[in-house]
Homo-oligomer: 341 residues x 2
């Protein structure tokens, strides 16, 4: 049987109340006494029964998710996953709030972070916009003792406790190698469609992609990045235009959202020549395109895993508990038409 507070009290030769004071860092315990208790805790290998503690406290974890108000499939999916978590909140003792802020607007995000901080939640998850003032606002939250995890897009250099998202440099590198290998030594040009170079995850993907391409596939030449603003219409226009004007394009890497437009442009051009295409994020559109051969591979991050992981980590941090690192690593999914879920 695992030891309880009673065992600790007995072993340390103190009362239950004193053990409680030590455990919950309440004042009124002399240094020597505190040490006796801490030794007993260590010796007996006591671990607090979190379930019982939560029951006694009637604890719920008020968590806030801050998302950009972007109108694309991925963000919709992320939102849906958070709402699914809300539906589970009764059994998970969470009380989740979702707030949306204008996309790419660091000031709005900072304001929201300050509003949220005032509510003293048990944890905050945010899709970070990469800016110094956001970093500062996040650091302030952390200083106030509020656990913070970044979601999907990280905020390196900040004090956030955890990042629930994929390694985007690795994603870009992987895309490059897949594309390079699929093209099998052919010589030609590559088009790159991004959302915006202002977003960190897109920049990182491009960085990884370009670096592997330069090192290992010198026969492939990268044309200037097309910024589609994650908008299907813009993406369509850019890709159609690029394909019309440049005969040498044999491959495309779409590292952002708005793939609906990309796919439409590809279908219109279908007869012309074979293109090898790699895109990000599995949605209804990209899935269909993968199955019909318009897209050759999809790199994906599982929004459901990211959300569940963020919640687990926030709860653990709020309780000062350890997390299973391997479990919280968000993996880069590579989908071919054969291994779709």
């Amino acid at each position: 049987m695992r030891p309880t507070v009673h065992d600790i009290a007995a072993a340390a030769g103190v009362s239950l109340a004193t053990v409680d004071r030590v455990l919950n860092q309440r004042p009124g315990v002399r240094h020597v006494t505190r040490e006796k208790v801490e030794n007993a805790i260590r010796d007996l290998g006591y671990v607090r029964d979190v379930a019982a503690a939560n029951l006694a406290k009637g604890r719920v974890y008020p968590l806030t998710f801050i998302l950009p108000a972007s109108d694309n499939s991925f963000m919709h999916g992320l939102n849906a996953e958070i709402r699914a978590a809300v539906a589970r909140s009764a059994t998970e003792r969470t009380d989740i709030h979702i707030v949306e802020v204008p996309a790419f607007d660091s000031q709005a995000l900072v304001r929201e972070l300050e509003t949220v901080a005032a509510e003293k939640p048990a944890g905050v998850a945010l899709v970070a916009t990469d800016a110094p003032d956001v970093r500062a606002a996040v650091d302030r939250l952390v200083h106030d003792g509020i656990p913070v995890v970044t979601l999907v897009s990280d905020l390196t250099g900040s004090l956030r406790h955890h990042y629930a998202g994929v390694d985007n440099i690795a994603a870009g590198r992987t895309a490059a190698r897949l594309l390079g290998r699929f093209l099998g030594g052919a010589k030609g040009e590559l088009a790159i469609l991004a959302g915006s170079m202002l977003v960190r995850d897109h920049r990182e993907r491009l960085e990884g992609f370009a670096s592997v391409m330069a090192q290992e596939f010198p026969a492939l030449h990268l044309t200037p990045v097309l910024e589609g603003r994650d908008d299907p219409e813009v993406a369509h226009m850019l890709i159609a235009d690029a394909l019309a004007r440049n005969d040498g394009i044999i491959g495309i890497y779409s590292l952002g959202a708005g793939n609906r437009g990309l796919i439409r442009a590809l279908k219109e051009k279908a007869v012309d020549r074979p293109l090898t295409v790699i895109a990000h994020e599995l949605t209804a559109h990209t899935r269909a395109a993968l199955l019909d051969g318009t897209i050759d591979a999809i790199l994906n991050q599982d929004a459901g895993h990211e959300v569940r992981s963020a919640i687990r980590v926030l709860k653990a941090k709020a309780d000062g508990l350890a997390v299973i690192d391997a479990q919280e690593r968000i993996r880069l999914d590579i989908f071919l038409k054969d291994n779709l879920p």
Copy 2:
């Protein structure tokens, strides 16, 4: 606030004791009364607080894992992950036992299943050997009300509640497409290294591989399967021999274990000609080979996820709770040298 048993009692106009009888299916409740209570439960949306219930019951989940006594990296890893779960058992209220049975020995497995059944555990996870008597033994366990999940290798047609492992047909298909695309339309022969065609997961991988190859890459010809018995020495011998005798081999699919031998054979032959190689299971050896270019891609199943998932599912089934399907789907990891964890 979520409703409690007290609220149910009040709403149904019965006493706490009666609610308890209904909830825990104890006898002594008239049909009409039972219905009143059940209606109240439904109306108020009552969900039992599992944490409180477990606390009151002092419940622990005695779980048994049955593994084949195979001496390869993957099984060692699986074992290690289960032991890691044992280390967490205090906080997870589990009491996990690991038993090993001779590999590929269905009778031994059946005997063990019967021994285990007698101990009435809260759940059983097993790496299934695909045989009718095993199926029958598993079905008996299920009939006795013991939750069963298959691990790594499934037992289709049995009544097992869940399979914690990858879709091996999809894995084989994925390997085929990767290999086909990497070879970029070249014409030649492929060597296939398996452990044993008696194991279901290996058969399924081959089946998926062969089917995609036949349909989509007719220029690639499959040579007869080499059965390496998951033994590095045997694998080395077989591959070295095949490469020496067949000049036309341009690619290899290793769908089982014993990759240490394969890698050695490949390094010895390195100068001869470039080979495209895809292997299963990420281990120290395959990882090194992927990084140095000996292997081009690794397909992997995350043993840690499989174990944690199996435990979650067994506990949920034991409590009659729902599982989050998406969370329990074991994904096929595809590793290139760029996205290694």
